[in-house]
């Protein structure tokens, strides 16, 4: 045990370099900084919007529309006595995102119940999601105008009726049933919420697998490159202890790195979302609880076990790939197959439902051990415990096979003779 701890301490020290600590600290700072900046931009986008208006009608109706818009978070710059072309130029020079042109005769047309056209000109000064939100204003302005005007007409013509009842005679009330639980919500709303809840799992897994695997591969490759492996293999410590120490150190450091990154990521998302998202999330959370779509303690334990097993599989695989690497540089290439194995189920989980995929695709995905943690959260919600425990058992079997294989490589000549060369002759060389 003393020898194992001696080696483990050395492995951790080798991995926790000042560069790693600085890069982690910078990541947290950077995420928070970007989050705060984004928050300011979001607040700007959802705050008071500057728009320009050219009222060529100057009727009571047109004035009422502009006053209505002013009361709905729009700051209106009224362009008096200009032609349409002049107004377009003036608005272009200012910071308005939108120019509304109300044509002459607008009020009269409304009086006669004739549809009239209001022209809107959007000034796209940015193509970012938040920057382009100006174009969304058009839709909300027109919709608000139509609503106000149609209500006004209906009230004038049919004063005894509620305009809303007339416009929407059929109303829907949506319910979602999951197993024997029911809640008032739309199916798409619940699906989106489940997706956003599970979004974190693949990200966490991706990060830990990426960091830990890279560390293990590099640790073995560096021993080869620095010519320290031969000496290490002749000291009185079991080969399995060498493998375990390297895997454990990489797992621990990878886990800490991933937690730090997630902490930074949370700061970034919190910065963007702000208080509005938190409020919406707590309302939706109640519906999710009502439907049983949340993790209780056993759910978290199962999810944790799935993530843990996936990390172990990745580390064992990385250990074997590290042996194949000739030096640190080729180790960087070795990580690619492992990354693909994590990324394939990751991207598929974003765009498709693995459970409803065709049989060949499903088999292909289920063979990849890293698919299973992605499936666990959904299967937990749906109570598919057979799939869950089957997946956990499969990962355990894969891990055992890989560790036995890795231990065998370390116990035989292969640790010194096996290597794959990228860009040179491929194959096993002695």
């Amino acid at each position: 045990m003393k020898r194992f701890l001696n080696l483990l301490k050395k492995e951790i020290k080798e991995l926790v370099t000042p560069q790693l600590v600085i890069s982690l600290a910078l990541t947290i700072l950077l995420f928070n900084f970007v989050g705060q900046m984004s928050r300011k931009e979001v607040q700007k986008a959802i705050g008071v919007q500057n728009i320009s208006a050219l009222d060529l009608d100057r009727s009571a109706a047109s004035q009422a529309i502009l006053t209505g818009l002013e009361s709905a978070r729009f700051k209106i710059e009224r362009l008096e006595g200009k032609t349409k072309e002049q107004a377009i130029d003036i608005a272009r020079g200012g910071d308005s995102k939108l120019l509304i042109v109300i044509p002459a005769g607008f009020g009269e047309s409304l009086q006669n119940l004739k549809p009239e056209t209001i022209e809107t000109y959007s000034y796209m000064r940015s193509f970012s999601l938040i920057g382009a939100s100006g174009s969304a204003i058009v839709g909300s302005v027109i919709s608000a105008l139509n609503n106000v005007l149609s209500n006004k007409f209906l009230k004038e013509r049919l004063p005894d009726l509620d305009p809303q009842s007339l416009k929407n005679p059929i109303k829907s009330k949506d319910f979602v049933i999951v197993h024997n639980r029911m809640a008032e919500a739309s199916a798409s709303e619940i699906a989106n919420r489940v997706r956003s809840q599970s979004m974190l799992i693949p990200i966490v897994l991706m990060m830990i697998v990426m960091y830990s695997s890279q560390m293990v591969i590099s640790a073995v490759a560096m021993e080869k490159q620095n010519k320290t492996l031969e000496t290490l293999l002749t000291v009185p410590i079991r080969r399995t202890s060498i493998i375990t120490a390297k895997m454990l150190a990489a797992g621990l450091v990878g886990l800490i790195s991933a937690v730090v990154y997630m902490f930074g990521f949370k700061g970034f998302m919190g910065g963007i979302g702000g208080d509005e998202l938190k409020a919406a999330s707590s309302q939706g959370g109640a519906v999710m609880r009502q439907l049983g779509l949340y993790f209780d303690t056993s759910g978290y334990i199962i999810l944790g076990a799935a993530l843990f097993l996936a990390i172990l599989v990745a580390l064992a695989l990385a250990m074997i790939l590290g042996v194949l690497a000739e030096d640190f540089r080729s180790a960087q290439n070795m990580i690619m197959p492992l990354m693909f194995m994590v990324m394939i189920p990751y991207f598929l989980s974003l765009f498709a439902d693995i459970n409803t995929a065709s049989l060949p695709v499903k088999i292909f995905l289920l063979v990849i051990p890293f698919s299973h943690p992605f499936l666990v959260s959904q299967n937990l919600y749906l109570g598919n415990y057979g799939m869950i425990f089957g997946g956990l058992a499969y990962m355990l079997v894969v891990f055992t096979v890989l560790v036995v294989f890795a231990a065998r490589i370390f116990s035989t000549d292969k640790i010194l003779t096996m290597k794959l060369r990228f860009g040179k002759k491929r194959g096993v060389t002695a």
């Binding site: 020290k13 031969e230 000291v235």
Partner: protein, 240 residues
């Protein structure tokens, strides 16, 4: 006196390529036994097998009455191995590296300290041991690695080309270290293609070529047998 190491009929091949075609030799307590031969003769393969890095093919290797094939863990406890192209962990300070290696062999903190003190004495690097190994010259690195191999007073120290790649002065210092610190019960099995070095260091030598031992004996015996002035001439004559 009982041999430290006895090798009989040792064969080893990599695929179809035969590296050792059946070699026999033994190392006695306290002696420096050398394998000499050209590159590719099978010296490193032999040393790697005895250091438990490679698995033996046919034949038997007995180390202190233990079968190396069956009990490699016992062998690792009692030997030290210095590979030809060895390195040390570059991010570690010299002293930390020695402590790290000593901790594998020491049973108590006192023993670990004694091992490190001996290594510090062997290296003669003084304050430089408090700096990172990555900043050392080739000669300094070799000295610290040699000190690591000798500090635990192993039963058998296996040194593969101990002066390989070193300049004349550093090579001389390394040879002197081996001479000076191998007097305390440690046997040495070393390999070199530098015949003059072998003559300076060894009690007995074996001439090896193409995986076979051509002859063995003390340098004096071999020179007399082949009527040669030095081991280089002995080797040339043995090939005929």
């Amino acid at each position: 006196m009982e041999n430290v190491l006895t090798v009989r009929g040792l064969k080893k091949s990599y695929g179809k390529q035969m590296a050792l075609a059946g070699i026999d030799f033994e190392v006695r307590p306290g002696e420096v036994f050398a394998l000499i031969g050209p590159n590719g003769a099978g010296k490193t393969t032999t040393l790697r097998i005895i250091a438990t890095l490679l698995t033996p093919g046919e034949g038997t290797i007995t180390f202190l009455d233990h079968d190396l094939r069956k009990d490699p863990d016992f062998v690792r406890e009692k030997i030290s191995y210095l590979p030809e192209e060895a390195g040390a962990y570059k991010n570690m300070k010299g002293l930390d590296y020695l402590h790290f290696m000593a901790a594998f062999y020491a049973r108590t903190p006192e023993e670990e300290k004694a091992f490190v003190d001996r290594a510090v004495e062997i290296t003669e690097l003084g304050a430089r041991l408090k700096t990172k190994v990555g900043t050392y010259s080739k000669g300094m690195t070799r000295k610290i690695l040699l000190a690591r191999a000798l500090m635990t007073k192993p039963v058998l120290s296996i040194l593969d080309e101990p002066t390989s790649g070193l300049d004349v002065l550093n090579a001389l210092e390394v040879r002197e270290i081996v001479r000076r610190y191998v007097k305390e019960g440690t046997s040495v099995l070393l390999s070199s293609h530098n015949m003059l070095e072998i003559e300076f260091l060894s009690d007995r030598v074996a001439l090896i070529d193409k995986g076979r031992i051509l002859d063995s004996g003390t340098p004096h015996e071999l020179k007399e047998k082949y009527q040669a002035k030095n081991l280089e001439e002995v080797f040339r004559s043995s090939l005929r």
